[in-house]
């Protein structure tokens, strides 16, 4: 009888490959749709630009599509826990931690790699002059998808299948809109100091609230924030806000730390929950 060592990379790989085979169709569709969107947007809007918002924005809908696919895939954890399917895998030496990690690997990291690699190929074909400059942003896309995956994994590990999908769709579709609006308000918040408080609605307590809100939104979508930050730095501001917004690098670092923390919480939950 073979004994089990924990966690085993081999078992994680076996489980990930098994799940990937079953979900290949949805990934293939996502890859095709997002690549077509990216190519069309770049051809129409950004092919002549150096690195600009116009060149990067086409990636936002692609990321949204991927996020919805990721949420749908990760909600499978909740479904498999509820239905008892997970028992069949756990009964065959797979540990709870390995199960969660393999799902995260499949549904979080694999799509991130897929998006980054296919987008790079598409950009290299339709606008090769962008490839070098866009390279920096690819890391942001990767972290963006990672933190998103960690959030939905945490919710799914509690067994909430529907909530996982709803939250995933909400974050996927609306987080960049929320970040844009909040950053816009913040950009012009400094006006209240220059002129009278009647000019801008943002007085200090509200100002801090907006700062906190867009920082949270930025943490949840570092790539969107990176793109918006370009816009922020290139915008004329008669009076800059009293506290400068965090740099994208800070946000990315914090997002990575938050991803690790969320994943840790999800692992803790899956280890103690009844299956």
């Amino acid at each position: 009888m073979k004994r089990l060592s924990s966690p085993s990379l081999r078992r994680i790989y076996e489980q990930t490959a098994y799940m990937a085979n079953r979900r290949m169709r949805s990934y293939s569709i996502a890859v095709i749709i997002t690549d077509v969107i990216t190519a069309l947007f770049i051809l129409m809007l950004g092919w002549q630009a150096p690195v600009t918002v116009l060149a990067l924005l086409p990636l936002v809908p692609s990321i949204s599509i991927y996020k919805i696919v990721i949420a749908a895939q990760i909600s499978g954890i909740a479904r498999e826990i509820k239905s008892g399917e997970v028992q069949l895998y756990l009964a065959h030496t797979l540990t709870r931690v390995e199960y969660l990690l393999s799902t995260f690997l499949l549904a979080g990291i694999t799509p991130a790699l897929l998006l980054v690699s296919t987008c790079s190929v598409v950009i290299a074909i339709v606008a090769p002059n962008l490839l070098y400059t866009i390279g920096e942003y690819i890391l942001y896309i990767f972290v963006d998808l990672l933190i998103f995956s960690a959030i939905v994994v945490l919710v799914a590990s509690h067994g909430y299948e529907g909530t996982t999908i709803i939250l995933g769709v909400f974050l996927g579709l609306f987080i960049w809109i929320a970040t844009s609006i909040l950053l816009f308000f913040y950009t012009y918040s400094g006006l209240s100091y220059t002129y009278s408080s009647n000019v801008s609605p943002l007085s200090p307590p509200l100002l801090y609230l907006v700062y906190l809100s867009f920082s949270i939104c930025a943490l949840l979508s570092p790539f969107t924030y990176r793109v918006l930050y370009i816009a922020y730095t290139q915008t004329y501001k008669p009076s800059p806000p009293p506290i400068p917004p965090p740099t994208p690098q800070t946000i990315m670092l914090l997002a990575l730390l938050l991803t690790i923390a969320l994943l840790g919480l999800a692992l803790r939950e899956i280890k103690v929950r009844d299956i």
Binding site: M1, K2, R3, L4, S5, S6, R10, R11, E14, Q15, Y18, R22, E80, S83, G84, E85, Q87, L88, Y89, L90, A91, H92, T93, L94, T95, R96, V272, D274, I275
Partner: protein
């Protein structure tokens, strides 16, 4: 040696207490019948053994370790859940191969278990196309991967028609006979476990009523024990046996066969007597008393 031990285990799901201070032991090399009505706590107990649930109170020990903490214990156990949920989009072979892969087993092991349960001709079929009986075989096949020391089968014949139920029981009998594997089988259909088990745990409303070797339980609850004896000279054998005070009745079932009912507390004495007169006996068989009667007596004896 004790294989499984429950020490005052309670398991609560919200307001429902599925198991209440349950204590019992299961020794090695037994086929244990886990008996009780629906909702008695059988599935909860099995999941506790597998480490899928954490006891709210008390300790569950499997080979001396807590399965909840030590997940490696599961590598020694084969498990068939009560309502297994299979990946319906896969073929039987792909599904079993994946589970075998997790255990570092190869194609030969998949073929072996599929032959054992009679699935070898259906390996390329999608799981969704299988009948209930064959689905249950898939469940048993997966539980046998890796030659487990213990098989835990939760209601293996539930929702099956009588023919499929018979087939599954036959498969289990063969497995026990050929592989000598310990089993814990739960069922609320008592007679079907009688053919297989030599140990039993009786449970109702989350409380363990009694447990032990069936031979001991027959005696303890004075359930009549029946032997079938094939003798060369049944007249003489019958005369010899009827003189004994612990023999309750002798019935001639065919020209060379007797059925003898005895007081269960004299089980061993009776066996010694049969050994003494073995020159007149072709063979004898301990035909167990009715497990249903035993269950009723145990339930009635508890407040």
């Amino acid at each position: 040696m004790t294989m499984i031990e429950f020490r005052e285990v309670s398991k609560r799901f919200g307001k429902v207490e599925a198991l209440k201070n349950a204590s019992f032991e299961i020794p090695e090399n037994t086929v244990t019948a886990f008996l009780g009505p629906n909702g008695a706590g059988k599935t909860t107990s099995m999941k506790l053994i597998m480490g899928f649930l954490k006891p709210s109170k008390g300790a569950v020990l499997v080979w001396g370790e807590e399965p909840w903490r030590n997940e490696s214990i599961r590598s020694r156990i084969g498990y068939l859940p009560e309502k297994p949920v299979y990946p319906m989009d896969l073929t039987v072979e792909d599904f079993l191969s994946h589970l075998a892969g997790l255990r570092r087993l190869g194609r030969a092991d998949v073929e072996r278990v599929s032959r054992l349960v009679g699935l070898e001709k259906l390996m390329d079929r999608k799981i969704r196309s299988l009948s209930r009986g064959y689905l249950q075989r898939v469940g048993i096949a997966q539980s046998l991967l890796g030659e487990p020391e213990l098989l835990i089968l939760d209601e293996p014949t539930a929702n099956l028609d009588p023919a499929a139920r018979r087939e599954i029981l036959d498969v289990l009998k063969v497995l026990h006979k050929e592989l000598k594997v310990s089993m814990i089988i739960s069922s609320h259909i008592i007679p079907e476990l009688q053919e297989l088990s030599n140990y039993a745990i009786f449970i109702d409303k989350g409380t363990v009523l009694d447990y032990g070797y069936l031979n001991d339980l027959w005696r303890k609850y004075s359930v009549e024990t029946v032997f079938t004896i094939e003798a060369t000279d049944i007249e003489t054998v019958a005369k010899q046996l009827i003189e004994k005070p612990f023999v309750h009745a002798i019935k001639r079932v065919s020209s060379g066969t007797l059925e003898v009912s005895i007081d269960p507390s004299h089980f061993k004495v009776f066996e010694a007597l049969l050994t003494e007169i073995n020159h007149k006996i072709r063979r004898y068989e301990f035909k167990t008393a009715n497990l249903g009667d035993l269950y009723e007596k145990i339930v009635k004896s508890k407040p």
